[in-house]
């Protein structure tokens, strides 16, 4: 049986892993390469690495760091931040990343998804989306897509955008709830469930993981195929082993040997 994936997320800024709350007030937590090795050895199923200031600073992704992470870990890892062109995607994949994540870029230029999928295969193009809850009836799903780290609203409905991205050829979708990000008070289950049950590709839930129970919820009621965790392990409060033990006890299919 296919296991649910636990994916630590390394938000990197100035060569350090950081974490904020609702995309703000980031604090430094450690060295990305050391943390990547520790999580990979500790049993995580995949890693995500975001160069969170590349876009804002108008510079390309820190490719040397991508190479360094690729050299030391032997599990899949995806990379995002500062990807603007097909050539950028190619550079990241050649550096040893398994997948490339696009977010703001895809909203501004959706054809990059189909071009990337054609050039490198759907399996390595990941759509990251940052939906925020809204009561505005213009958004039938109840969520609007934001970009540039919640700084800009787009007028796009979250579910419509997910379906469009699937049509364009993304291999999987990371649904990162702006409202839950960094709160450690649980995933947005309804949002995750709505997207996961509407598309035929894997959906990764992100934002709000604080306890193993939150993960159980997002894999069962939320129907997520994978979940991103950050603060709960960055702070050392939980190990991946502890989280996985609880998931196994709850009957969630999880990789147990590594």
């Amino acid at each position: 049986m296919l296991s649910k994936r636990i994916i630590p997320c390394l938000d990197v800024r100035n060569k350090k892993v950081t974490k904020g709350v609702k995309f703000q007030n980031n604090v430094e937590l450690g060295d990305p390469v050391e943390m990547a090795v520790a999580y990979s050895d500790g049993g995580c199923d995949e890693l995500v690495f975001y160069d969170i200031t590349a876009s804002a600073e108008g510079r390309p992704i820190d490719i040397e760091m991508v190479k360094e992470v690729a050299r030391v870990i032997r599990i899949p890892f995806s990379v995002g931040g500062g990807i603007e062109t097909l050539a950028d995607m190619h550079r990241v994949l050649l550096a040893g990343a398994e997948k490339v994540s696009v977010n703001s870029l895809a909203v501004n230029n959706p054809t990059i998804i189909s071009e990337g999928a054609r050039a490198f295969g759907s399996q390595c193009i990941v759509l990251g989306m940052d939906p925020v809850r809204t009561g505005d009836p213009l958004f039938p799903s109840g969520y609007e897509i934001t970009i540039r780290g919640f700084r800009e609203r787009t007028g796009l409905d979250a579910l419509e955008w997910a379906l469009q991205a699937e049509e364009l050829g993304v291999g999987e979708i990371v649904v990162n709830s702006v409202d839950a990000d960094g709160t450690r008070s649980g995933f947005e289950i309804d949002l995750t469930n709505m997207i996961a049950c509407s598309v035929g590709i894997p959906v990764i839930a992100s934002g709000g993981a604080g306890t193993p129970k939150h993960l159980i919820e997002v894999f069962t009621r939320g129907q997520a195929d994978a979940a991103i965790i950050a603060s709960m392990i960055h702070t050392g409060e939980y190990t991946i082993r502890q989280i996985k033990d609880e998931l196994v006890s709850a009957g969630v299919p999880i990789r147990k040997k590594w």
Binding site: L2, R74, Q123, G171, K257
Partner: protein, 206 residues
């Protein structure tokens, strides 16, 4: 030295990095002379069958691959490289290399609970013990990313099996000096490295 065949397939870098990690000498190449001179050959791949077959023809790699396998040299296909060694693929309805009898089929989605591609870690049940599984327990998990799967026509060619989308498919196939895995040992943590180590020592006999 292990030659990693370069036909513009996707996962060349990760295969090279994994072999370097365990201290095995390797080279990414499409030079038939280098492939012929290598002790072992890895045939990787991520992408579409049709484009892969076109590239192999364009780069003149079909004969070198057939000769390598005929020579008795250990040869390992990974992912797409495990599929196109069969006779035919439903992906693009294309004739493949035909080193092992059988076809490549597409998963038929059942419902939203079963996403295509299969992406993630799934267990491999060993059906016929093989040297590349030495020291690896039965039902260990490996990393998969694929929408198509191998359906070899002879049961004796099935080395390992995996369940997905209501199908029990051959996740490892083999015949004499040829071994091929649908999963990615280069992305399957320490256990995957163990398998690559086993391959780097394997004499091609089983």
């Amino acid at each position: 030295m292990i030659a990693i065949i370069d036909y513009n397939a996707g996962n060349l870098t990760s295969v090279r990095l994994a072999l370097e990690y365990i201290g095995v000498e390797c080279e990414i190449t499409r030079d038939p002379a280098k492939i012929a001179a290598a002790e072992r050959v890895i045939f990787p791949g991520v992408g579409a069958a049709e484009a892969a077959m076109a590239n192999l023809k364009e780069f003149g790699l079909l004969e070198p691959i057939r000769e390598t396998v005929a020579s008795g040299k250990p040869f390992m296909g990974i992912c797409l490289g495990s599929q196109i060694i069969l006779e035919h693929s439903e992906e693009g309805d294309v004739a493949c290399i035909g080193l092992i009898p059988g076809t490549v089929k597409r998963f038929v989605p059942i419902d939203y609970l079963c996403k295509i591609p299969q992406m993630g870690w799934n267990t491999v049940e060993i059906k016929n013990q093989h040297p590349i599984f030495d020291g690896i327990e039965d039902s260990t998990e490996f990393y998969f990313v694929h929408s198509y799967y191998c359906a070899p026509s002879q049961e004796s060619h099935i080395i390992g099996e995996t369940d997905y989308a209501g199908v029990r498919f051959a996740s490892a196939v083999g015949f004499k000096n040829l071994i091929a895995t649908q999963f990615h040992p280069e992305r399957s943590g320490r256990i995957g490295l163990k398998m690559l180590e086993n391959f780097s020592r394997w004499d091609g006999k089983c």
